[in-house]
Amino acid sequence: MTENFPLYLIILLPLLGAALNLLFGRRFGNTFVSVVACSAVAGAALVATKAVLLVASELPARGALVDQLVSGDWIVAGDFKLQAGLMLDRLSSVMVMVVTWIALLIHIYATGYMEHEPDFARFFGYLNLFTGAMLILVLGDSLPVTFVGWEGVGLASYLLIGFWYHEDKNATAGRKAFIVNRIGDFGFLLGICLLFTVVGTVKYADFGSIAGRLMTPWWMGWPVGYWIAILLFVGCCGKSAQIPLYVWLPDAMAGPTPVSALIHAATMVTAGVYVVARCHTIFDTFPEAAKMTVAGVGALTALFAATIGIVQRDFKKVLAYSTVSQLGFMFVGVGTGAYTAGVFHLMTHAFFKAGLFLGAGSVMHAMGGEGDIVKMGGLGKHMPITRWTFFVYCLAIAGIVPFAGFFSKDAILAGTFAAEFRMSTQMTGAQAHLVALYPKLLWGMLATAALCTAFYMWRLYFVVFTGKFRGTEEQEHHLHESPMSMTLPLVMLAVGSVLAGLIGVPAVMTHGLPESLEHVLTFFNHWLSPAMVPASPEPHEHWLEWALMGGALTISLCGIGLAAALYRGGISETAENLKDKLGFAHKLLWNKYYVDELYDFLLVRPLRRVAVILWKVVDNLVIDLGLTKIGPYIVDSLGALVQRFQNGDVQRYIIAVMVGAAGILFGSTYWLAYQGIQGEVKVERRTVTLKLGDARMRPGQLIYAIDWDGDGKFDDTNVRFNSELKHEYGNAGQFKIVVEARDPVWNMVKRSDDWFFGASTPLSAKVE
């Protein structure tokens, strides 16, 4: 069921704000810019809220609000017709609420954070542009429309990472982000193409009925749905920073901190998770190899990035790897079929990760831009609001009950543990065993990643906020709590980090509570499933669910305890010793497994080298020398050949003239002989009249012989040129006629059935 609603307002307001700020912001000053930017997003947030309330109250679970942006079709090309429309259903509602409200908080924060920035207007213009594009992404009603937003956020991300463009480092980071994302888009685009090719539709509304067609076997024995899913997932890996395309996100921290919070933590990077949930019909294609891939990549990324996070010293780098890792969690969620859990974690993560980044921004604001945590310490007493809100976020991300991260992470872990991948029924016992074991393996990886998460987050907290200050005296002198515009969003996000989890409490915990309270506590569990996405898998036994929860909590507490032991009150000697003892392992982690260096060696530099070789060798040598030298060379050598004859030797001239004349005569005779045997056949009962073609230049000089019945013997010989010859056949039938022409002067003979000079149509007569 669908209903019309002016959803275009939600995207139009931020885009208008962007246009106003980019075109005129400089002229009207910072206040104008802040008001325009914030009110544009606030307006979008209010309209979005109104729309979401409508979805919640008026529409059935599968219902959606729709809005046709272009009357008729947007792109028409033959049988490809694409409408540009927006759609708000329950899944996009979650995204829209997260995006608009968190964007609003971060816009407010940025008015304080960026107040000394000379390019204030440009910053907010980009930020609004991003918000608009992100809303197109989540509201688009088909993959191509989503792709428009998908690329739009990529552009905004590029511009904002390189916002301080006067440093080459920032510009390079922006470029890297854009290009790595483009590699993902390559897959995304082909995924859309394959979907259209096989299924014929790219609209989400039609996805309910395409499952059958996705099962068509396609390539390497896998169904087409698998390949579409994999291609789309390549795009998701780019945008959501998963292995092997995660490398841009840590570098993206070159952008201003509010950007890192909004784009590279809370919203844009979750787009991939959203797309997987949105296209779950495709990812659910039986056999579920695509989901296994998604979950595997997610788990690997979660663990991989979490281990890197343990040793990093840059405040924002730690958070960046943490984001990569948490996105991995979400992909394991959607990959194991726990779509609700994945999207739920997406939402809670948006609160606490945005908060963590804004907290980092607040700290760096106070530190005068310093980002190295080793040079911080003891900041808690100077900036209490930042400290305590950061404390809340750390509890949330570590997954301590009852903070938001606990419930969402628990949902993913429980879902993973209970997941079953439906694979072919013809598997051997060992294969089936492996498939059954796979979710447990994923669970193990996630649990380890969770341990690392708790450790590195609390390491960060202790190193930055407790102990003694380790920076310069001048820095210490300047330490201060941030202004209201910055602390207010911090507090609100902290409140969110506590409350957001409480709408998705697992059912086992709410047994026996009053029904209305239970309804609120388990609200999210019913919001998406079963109507929008399949229900998340859950362990059948309650004791197992409790045990998993307890296990997860224990793991988190262990991580926090370890961090406290090593870093509480400053960096302990044990920690330093441990670093030395770990030696190579530490070096490996510190250098992020040398992945950037590997890519540089395998891809970046070879591309450059190939480019130069192609240009210098193929273009300049082979083609230019080839084409432009060979052509003239032929002309030249012909010229040289001709020159050889022009040497003043009269005898040679005479020979040449004679050879030439002979050639001309010979050729013309051939030509004439050919001309002579053009004939036209007329049949009149048994009498056939052959009209020989007109040898225009030398009539009467050729002698003809005619074989009327194609038996190889000439019936009439020595026929002089004659315009018409008659022959009477004795019996009926189809006869082949062969005419021979002889030039008595040169004694040249040509036949009409000659393969080369013969008559263009073979002569024949059909007699009754």
Binding site: V70, I75, V76, R175, I623
Partner: protein
């Protein structure tokens, strides 16, 4: 409205004659006449849109010219040519305005050359007679030769000669092919006719078609330019003045695809079956190769020139795939490339006028000094990369989509010749990645980072005149990206109609032995298409 096509075509020539009549010294008057004529032509050409029926030839004029040979001055416009004509008339005022200060030497001659060039381009887009087409095709060549050779850079003569030789080689073969077709048609019908319609009805043997198609295609593929016939382009672009580069990239290159879809493909459908896969492969090589070589450049103009090779590769790929999606995409990409690359060359002109160098290493950090210019260049860069919402996306997307689905969703009755179309599509799509690689590299080297060269510290932002030059181009970049249907509403029916005609001629079968005319039912072998396919 009856005479609107000759009026639009010859208005620029009238302007050129007017310039001849005016004294040489009055440079500003000549510039004014140039802009004025181009603007009037543009306004006149806007009338072409009203009531246009895309699937047939509109506003047809038909005068006898050389009666004994059946050469008639025949012009007409349909949904494919209308936007290319408008692109031409739209660009010319911009080109004139952009040269206001760039060309100060021999202004009168420049204005005359450019106006004659415009007449040549418009005539070639509009002509429905093979001879008239050939005449206009050659008319374009000479003014362009002078524009490169007189107002160009240091190596302008070499560039101009290379340009002319390449183009001439192609066009001579085309002339031979035209004559062959006309003589054959005369043999069948007994009447001399150079009309495109006659050529479209003439059915030749497959072998003949292949040779003739190759002769036509060589001329058009040199213009495109298709790998490996592209090496004249970087040199011509680098040496040409900004105005020349813009006209060359935005309009002249479009005659390649236009000639293919208007002449070569419909007239020789049975050759297409054999040759198209090779064209497609060369096109894809062009996409990847052009992108790679662009990345190796340190000259801004050369980089953009090679990017043209890549972008136009998409166009040829789309045409070779022969389905409605890809051909629409190809024509659309022509328009988009005209705007985005034209815009990029105008941008290069802006900084070249200030610094008289095109080496990327000489620039860096210009954003600080020229924010408006930075925004302009950024938008054209993004349009060139194919960012949705800007001009480049729709065309590239449709070509990739059309190529990808060429086998499964072939046009009804089309030969199923593209076994590996999906692979081609995947290779072409790497152009999307590589495009970002070299364009962002260019943008960073020129605009971002610190100002390293002290000469760049004194640079000034775009003047009001330069801004006025850019604004319509920017507007079109957005328009093409946001409202594709403005253009596709005309292009799509015309493309579909062309493909239907192609299919009809294709499924009637090639001639065996004697040539014949299509619709000559006594001899035509009616053969129902057997190839599986989706909808037309």
């Amino acid at each position: 409205m009856g005479m609107i096509l000759p009026i639009v075509t010859f208005l620029p020539l009238v302007g050129a004659l007017l310039c001849l009549a005016l004294p040489r010294e009055e440079e500003h008057i000549h510039r004014g006449v140039g802009i004025g004529t181009a603007l009037v032509t543009f306004c006149a050409s806007l009338f072409l849109l009203s009531g246009l029926e895309p699937t047939k030839m509109n506003h047809v004029v038909d005068f006898a010219w050389v009666e004994s040979l059946g050469i008639r001055f025949r012009l007409g416009i349909d949904g494919i040519s209308v936007w290319l004509v408008l692109l031409t008339t739209f660009l010319m005022p911009i080109v004139f305005l952009s040269t206001w200060s760039a060309i100060s030497d021999k202004v009168r001659e420049f204005v005359i050359a450019a106006l004659i060039l415009e007449t040549g381009m418009l005539g070639a887009f509009l002509s429905l007679d093979l001879f008239v087409f050939y005449v206009f095709w050659e008319v374009m060549l000479i003014p362009m030769y002078f524009i490169i050779g007189i107002w160009g850079g240091d190596q302008r003569l070499k560039a101009a000669i290379k340009f002319v030789i390449y183009t001439m080689v192609g066009s001579l073969l085309m002339l031979i092919a035209i004559l062959y077709v006309v003589v054959k048609a005369h043999q069948v019908t007994g009447q001399w006719s150079f009309a495109l319609e006659t050529a479209q009805k003439l059915v030749l043997t497959k072998t003949e078609q292949i040779y003739l198609f190759l002769a036509f295609a060589l001329a058009f593929c040199i213009k495109v330019p298709l790998f490996p016939l592209h090496t004249w382009l970087p040199l011509a672009h680098v040496e040409a003045p900004t105005a020349g580069s813009v006209i060359l990239a935005s309009v002249l290159l479009k005659f390649g695809p236009y000639g293919l879809i208007r002449f070569a493909i419909p007239v020789f459908p049975h050759a297409v079956e054999t040759v198209a896969p090779w064209l497609a492969i060369l096109a894809v090589i062009g996409v990847v190769y052009g992108s790679c070589v662009a990345y190796a450049q340190d000259d801004v103009k050369k980089l953009i020139a090679y990017s043209s090779v890549a972008h136009m590769g998409f166009v040829v790929l789309g045409l070779a795939m022969l389905n409605s999606r890809s051909v629409n995409g190809a024509i659309y990409q022509c328009l988009a490339h005209g705007i985005s690359t034209g815009g990029l060359f105008l941008c290069v002109g802006v900084i070249y006028e200030r610094r008289h160098t095109r080496k990327m290493a000489e620039f860096g950090g210009l954003w600080k000094r020229m924010p408006v210019f930075a925004a302009t260049l950024l938008i054209f860069t993004m349009a060139s990369i194919g960012l949705p919402g800007l001009s480049g996306f729709v065309g590239e997307f449709l070509v990739i989509l059309g190529t990808f689905s060429a086998k499964e969703r072939a046009f009804d009755g089309m030969p199923a010749i593209f076994e590996n179309a999906r692979l081609l599509s995947a290779f072409a799509a790497t152009g999307v990645v590589l495009g970002a690689v070299y364009m962002l590299w260019l943008f960073q080297r020129v605009m971002l980072g610190p100002i390293t060269n002290p000469q760049n510290r004194k640079l000034t932002d775009m003047t009001p005149r330069e801004t006025v030059v850019m604004l319509p181009m920017l507007a079109m970049a957005f328009w093409l990206g946001i409202c594709p249907n403005t253009f596709l509403q005309h292009i799509d029916p015309a493309v579909t109609q062309t493909l239907i005609q192609f299919r009809e001629k294709y499924s009637a079968g090639a001639a065996e032995g004697d040539a014949r005319m299509l619709g000559d039912s006594a001899k035509a072998k009616v053969e129902e298409p057997t190839a599986p396919g989706g909808n037309p």
